[in-house]
């Protein structure tokens, strides 16, 4: 069994998660791009942190678990930003628009 620690008020946390869900659904309805990004994605990050810290008890966990997760997310960022500059490029000698150009698909087949 896990080490003894005080359990937070889970129902209160659940209630706030639902409030944040409502805001994240309502925000994009305004159809203002920055509001959409803040409410949909910013609140998703906040909800993730609340679930991880309070429900998964990450705030009580030993630091090794934090290090493990931070390293994984860091590597994910490295994989993304490492290739994004190449993939997001839409010009160059070897570049082909493989989404629009069916010859790419035919070659692979």
């Amino acid at each position: 069994m896990s080490e003894a620690h005080a359990h937070p008020n889970y129902i209160k946390i659940w209630f706030w998660l639902l409030i944040l869900l409502a805001i994240s659904v309502a925000g994009p309805m305004l159809e203002i791009p920055w509001v959409t990004v803040v409410t949909a994605f910013g609140i998703a990050a906040v909800k993730t942190f609340m679930v991880a810290a309070k429900f998964m008890h990450l705030q009580f966990e030993k630091k090794i678990i934090w290090y493990l997760l931070i390293i994984c997310v860091t590597f994910l960022g490295v994989f993304y930003f490492g290739v994004a500059a190449d993939i997001m490029n839409s010009s160059g000698q070897q570049w082909k628009d493989c989404i629009a150009d069916n010859t790419c698909i035919e070659q692979r087949l």
């Binding site: 896990s2 889970y10 998703a44 679930v51 998964m56 994910l76 993304y80 997001m88």
Partner: protein
């Protein structure tokens, strides 16, 4: 063969119970699976790949309801863990099955969404957006099913007052499934940015 269960249950070398450490390792590896999928989605979206305007065709109400269901089931599994810690095995058993019920409701809504899309002629190969939609939500649904099966197995152990520490472990897995959906919901159902 030991009748007392796995050796790992009864020892720890890191200061963290071995089972809990193992579950965190699994979740760390899952970060790459779902994180990689979501990153690829964003790469295509920011590269203006065609088809992403189809995010308008997903049902925000269904996605929001499913988010509510998973958040509520996260609450019930953590209450199951708290009950198991207090030794209230009947309450823990009930909370676990409430969580399984939440998973079932989630899958029913997903089935309705999938069938309405497929009957409307939209499948995995329609365009890049729908490829991601079916792949990401399908993979997530498989994780939900797996979690439900394991929760069921653990619940019967709990009823016999065995291996109560496993309620926390499956709870960690279920919270991760919930977190993945918290990110999938805005990018697949809301994202008009």
């Amino acid at each position: 063969m030991s009748l007392q269960g796995p050796i790992a249950t009864h020892r720890m070398r890191t200061g963290i119970p071995t089972g809990r450490l193992a579950v965190w390792w699994v979740l760390a590896s899952e970060i790459f699976i779902f994180g990689g999928l979501i990153m690829c989605f964003l790469l295509f979206k920011f590269n203006n790949a065609p088809g992403f305007e189809d995010a308008d065709m997903t049902s925000t109400a269904a996605g929001a309801f499913n988010t509510f269901v998973l958040l509520t089931s996260s609450l019930s599994i953590v209450l199951a863990h708290a009950a198991a810690e207090k030794g209230d095995i009947q309450a823990s058993f009930r909370y676990i099955w409430f969580t399984i019920g939440g998973g079932l409701v989630f899958l029913l809504v997903k089935t309705y969404e999938y069938s309405s899309k497929i009957y409307g002629g939209i499948t995995l190969t329609e365009n890049v957006f729908w490829s991601f939609y079916f792949t990401a939500t399908g993979l997530h649904a498989l994780h939900v099913i797996g979690g439900m099966v394991i929760m069921g197995m653990i619940s019967f152990d709990v009823r016999k007052n065995h291996n109560l520490q496993r309620v926390e472990l499956i709870g960690l897995y279920w919270h991760f499934v919930d977190i993945v959906w918290i990110f999938l919901f805005p990018i697949l159902y809301i994202a008009n940015f």
